[in-house]
């Protein structure tokens, strides 16, 4: 239930702040407005400060367990630059990264079911080819 609730909150903010808009994503890549940079930047600062507090005070989760932040594999680089660029091409074309795809479908843009299914097939293709790709 709690995940459904968090997701609902996240989806609501994504739509209300127009992060889900194809127009806003083009505007971001043309560097014509501060809007998207303001959102991503202030989200990063909020995450940075709050996780610093969590680490510094060694906060526990609500069940009393040590909080563990999943680390990316920082020993490789190819997958991030190549995978990232492929993702960026897709983000620019669809105007929607994964969170917004779900949110747009909820908002009634049912056509976005097509890019979402396509993205799931893309994830399948990655899983099938993983061993052959440079990481």
């Amino acid at each position: 239930m709690k995940y459904l609730f968090f997701g609902t909150f996240f989806g609501f903010v994504l739509v209300k702040s127009e992060v889900v808009s194809w127009f806003r994503i083009q505007e971001m890549f043309y560097f014509d407005s501060f809007h998207m940079y303001g959102i991503i930047g202030s989200a990063i600062v909020t995450g940075l400060l709050t996780t610093l507090i969590i680490k510094k005070w060694r906060l526990k989760d609500v069940n009393g367990n040590e909080i563990s932040i999943k680390e990316k594999d920082n020993s490789v680089t190819k997958r991030y630059i190549i995978g990232g660029a492929i993702f960026g091409l897709g983000w620019g074309l669809t105007g929607a990264c994964p969170g917004p795809m779900y949110a747009l479908i909820g908002s009634g843009y049912l056509i976005i079911i097509v890019p979402l299914l396509s993205a799931i097939i893309g994830a399948f293709a990655y899983g099938a080819l993983q061993q052959k790709l440079p990481h």
Binding site: Y3, L4, F6, F10, G11, V13, L14, V15, K16, S17, E18, S21, W22, F23, I25, F29, D32, S33, G38, A43, I44, T46, L48, D61, I67, I69, K72, D73, N74, Y80, G83, G84, I86, F87, G88, L89, G90, G92, L93, T94, A96, C97, P98, G99, M101, A103, I105, G106, S107, I111, P115, S118, A119, I121, G122, A123, F124, A125, Y126, G127
Partner: protein, 190 residues
């Protein structure tokens, strides 16, 4: 006042911190690391029976990914809730410069969250529609899983926790996005 807040677009300085709060909230309440594109992997593992033969999908998706699929379902509900507050004739107030650039490519309808003339069921049969929706979607899923994260997992969680991998991934996102905006779209849309 509250109705203004709900019908007006949310300014960046409110939306950004609210999105950023997802990271500590998920950590403290559930000990989960914020990110959403892994839901694509879990969707494959749960929906495609033959996926299990690839090691990438051979894991307990309920245990590892159940939470992320519920989170994604929540995002759909959140989108539905937000749609109730979208006023009639809503237009995203993008900058004049972007509007001019897109008009030059032939986009005329600036109502709603995306250009209706491109994102439609009939548009799927056209080359621009196919590239924008099907090819674009495929690259979002393939690229996010190849890079091990998307905007939430890398650009927000990864940068907020100062990970080198995420900085490289975000540079990649922008390389791809800039190629799309400056090269692909002008050629695709004319």
């Amino acid at each position: 006042m509250i109705t203004d807040f709900l019908t007006q677009p949310m300014p960046w300085y409110i939306a950004g911190p609210l999105i950023g709060l997802m990271l500590p909230l998920l950590l403290v309440i559930a000990n989960k690391t914020f990110g959403i594109s892994s839901s694509f992997r879990h969707a494959c593992a749960s929906l495609i029976p033959s996926a299990k033969k690839f090691s990438y999908f051979n894991y307990d998706w309920r245990k590892q990914g159940g939470w992320n699929l519920k989170f994604a379902a929540g995002v759909i509900i959140g989108g539905l809730g937000a749609a109730f507050f979208i006023p009639e004739g809503y237009e995203v107030a993008i900058s004049k410069s972007t509007q001019a650039t897109l008009s030059n490519m032939g986009i005329q309808d600036f109502s709603g969250l995306m250009p209706a003339e491109l994102f439609s069921w009939s548009g799927l049969l056209s080359i621009p529609g196919f590239v924008l929706m099907i090819l674009g979607g495929f690259m979002v899923g393939f690229g996010a899983r190849y890079a091990g994260g998307c905007t939430s997992g890398h650009a927000i969680t990864g940068l907020a926790t100062l990970q080198k991998a995420s900085l490289i991934a975000v540079i990649g996102f922008f390389i791809g996005g800039i190629i799309t905006s400056y090269f692909l779209l002008p050629n695709l849309l004319g």
